[in-house]
């Protein structure tokens, strides 16, 4: 369904800060794939997600969604196809708007926004049911400003917003990195459930190797703006974190010196 064809992106070209962030990335996702993405800092994981989301245009290459090239569409034009959750819990929601207003905004993703009520009575009942499912006690706090929620609650809400209007592809950019281990676990569980229940295709960046192996049906490994390895579901179940580290060393020709990855 998603086809990334040979994309390149260089930041600050021709300056002292020049950075070849993506060096010919090729990737094909099948319908229903839940792919975890690992790699050290600066490997190009988030950059790849941002390229798909259209935060900026890529230098060259194509991004196809169900066979249609979307690389020329701007960020808001691609939004109907994509659900996104960010690393920073502050990014995914509008802090000074209420929970129900945030959900109502997400419910109009990909639809025209007219002069009807933003939050309707029927919508409120829907949100109540959906929030109940999160089991965070948010269903009775619909009119509370999102700024008052904890990071974990905000990420859970952002996840719900990203999947409220079923996206073709869910982009998760280290969405549990800023959370404590217990909350991160909860949010990952929720992620898996939402992906499974809605039959979504997802691309999840993580620094946690265990999570990368535990979740999803496929894992890709990135280094220096390229995909080093693509591990399918069969070999994934047999792999351990140590195997991943060895695989990385063999393919990149360098030892992994990233603390965060080793700690995972």
């Amino acid at each position: 369904m998603l086809e990334i064809k040979n994309i390149y992106k260089t930041f600050n070209p021709g300056t002292i800060n020049e950075k070849h962030a993506l060096n010919g990335v090729n990737l094909t996702l099948n319908d229903g794939d839940f792919v975890t993405v690992i790699g050290g800092n600066g490997a190009g994981k988030s950059t790849m997600l941002n390229a798909v989301a259209g935060v900026w245009p890529v230098d060259s290459g194509m991004i196809l969604m169900d066979g249609t090239d979307i690389s020329g569409l701007s960020e808001h034009q691609r939004a109907p196809l994509l659900g996104r959750v960010f690393q920073d819990p502050m990014t995914g929601t509008a802090a000074n708007m209420t929970i129900e207003e945030n959900l109502a905004l997400a419910e109009r993703r990909g639809k025209p926004r007219g002069l009807r009520r933003g939050v309707t009575k029927a919508g409120r009942e829907r949100y109540h049911e959906l929030l109940k499912m999160l089991d965070l006690g948010l269903e009775d706090r619909l009119t509370v400003r999102v700024g008052l929620l904890s990071g974990g609650q905000r990420q859970a809400l952002t996840l719900l917003m990203a999947t409220l209007e079923k996206p073709k592809l869910l982009l998760l950019d280290e969405h549990t990195a800023a959370l404590d281990p217990k909350t991160a676990h909860k949010v990952l569980h929720l992620t898996r459930r939402l992906v499974r229940d809605n039959g979504l295709t997802a691309l999840m960046v993580t620094h946690n190797m265990k999570d990368a192996l535990h979740y999803g049906n496929r894992t890709i490994m990135m280094n220096e703006g390229k995909i080093l390895a693509d591990i399918d579901s069969q070999s994934k179940t047999q792999l351990k974190v140590d195997d991943l580290l060895r695989l990385f060393e063999r393919n990149s020709g360098a030892a992994l010196d990233n603390d965060r990855m080793l700690l995972g």
Binding site: A53, E75, H76, Q77, A79, P80, L82, R84, F86, M90, T91, G92, T93, A94, A95, N96, M97, E101, A104, L105, A106, R108, R109, G110, R113, G114, L115, R116, R117, G118, V119, M161
Partner: protein, 326 residues
């Protein structure tokens, strides 16, 4: 000592009372402009410098149309449209040409100075108020009617803005100001929302300028000078008062109401200071001081509760008390 006594002796309380209705009327009229500033400053998170120009444009357009025989109310509609166009220009400079928002506003504002001079043909134009019947007039005998109509006008604007901000479109506008990245991820064209928001805000500013020109019977190329500061003053005075009196009940509708309240309070302070025989030349200085005070109050209040110095004093005292027992 004698000088001070004669100074206070010369102040007549009755004169202050007589001046108050005029202050309230002005406050209500400027309140509409403050609502426009609220739209851009609080909802879009842009300090829109266009208003100094678009306020005068609203006045110029209204007076010139009335002079050429237009119905005064229809002229106000055109004032609103002219203001909205100015806001749109600022929005396009910002979003299409990548000029920082404050600078884009300043560019439009300075260009409007020339445009306003061109609209009027000279620095100011007046209407013979004896020949045209305005709904808004500073004629003392009709002042209560002016206040009533202005208040209704404010109420209508508040109702419209409150309704709009609750719609799908209005929510998208608020999201754009609150979190642009999130708004784009939700498929909102944030650039378009900014242009629309600036047009709406400056539309209100233009309308307010038109009404004020009717109220005073003339338009002047300088009538908008410092308008942004008055608008910000109204927004901030309203917020400080609203939070002080209403606390948790301070919702969006009341926020809008208190913008107008802030404008009225500002003009009552103005009337009071004029009554104290404060030189008119120094009024801009006073405006700046008033705004600075209201900006500083919430900060200082918070600071006095959360201060390192107070904590250090408190803990030093605790340590002194514990020391003898140790």
């Amino acid at each position: 000592m004698e000088a001070i006594l004669t100074y206070f002796g010369a102040l007549k309380p009755a004169a202050l009372l007589r001046a108050c209705p005029g202050g309230i009327a002005q406050g209500l009229i400027w309140g509409i402009m403050a609502l426009g500033v609220f739209m851009t400053f609080r909802m879009l998170n842009i300090a829109d410098m266009t208003v100094d120009g678009s306020f005068a444009t609203g006045g110029a357009v209204c007076i010139m149309l009335v002079l050429s025989g237009w119905n005064p109310q229809a002229a106000l509609l055109m004032s609103c449209l002219a203001g909205a166009t100015a806001g749109m220009v600022t929005g396009l400079l910002h979003t299409m040409l990548g000029i920082p928002d404050i600078l884009a506003g300043i560019l439009t504002q300075i260009s409007l100075y020339s445009i306003n001079l061109n609209i009027m043909g000279k620095a100011n134009q007046s209407v013979n108020v004896a020949k045209v019947s305005f709904y808004f007039t500073n004629n003392v005998r009709l002042l209560s009617r002016t206040i009533l109509i202005s208040a209704l006008c404010c109420a209508a604007m508040i109702a419209i803005i409150h309704w709009y901000l609750g719609t799908q479109h209005g929510s998208a506008l608020r999201a754009t100001g609150a979190n642009e990245k999130m708004a784009r991820a939700q498929g909102i064209n944030t650039n378009r929302m900014k242009v629309i928001g600036l047009a709406l805000g400056d539309g209100l500013v233009g309308l307010s300028g038109g009404i004020l020109s009717q109220f005073q019977g003339y338009a002047d190329v300088n009538m908008g000078r410092g308008a942004i500061v008055i608008g910000l003053a109204a927004v901030i005075i309203g917020e400080v008062l609203g939070q002080a009196f209403l606390r948790k009940r301070f919702n969006l509708l009341l926020q809008l109401v208190f913008v107008v309240v802030g404008a009225i309070v500002y003009y009552l302070v103005y009337v009071f200071v004029i009554w104290l025989k404060f030189p008119a030349d120094d009024m801009k200085l006073l405006t700046a001081v008033v705004v600075a005070v209201f900006l500083a109050v919430p900060y200082l209040k918070d600071h006095s509760k959360n201060s390192f110095r107070h904590l250090a004093k408190k803990n030093a005292k605790l340590q002194r008390e514990e020391a003898p027992h140790a």
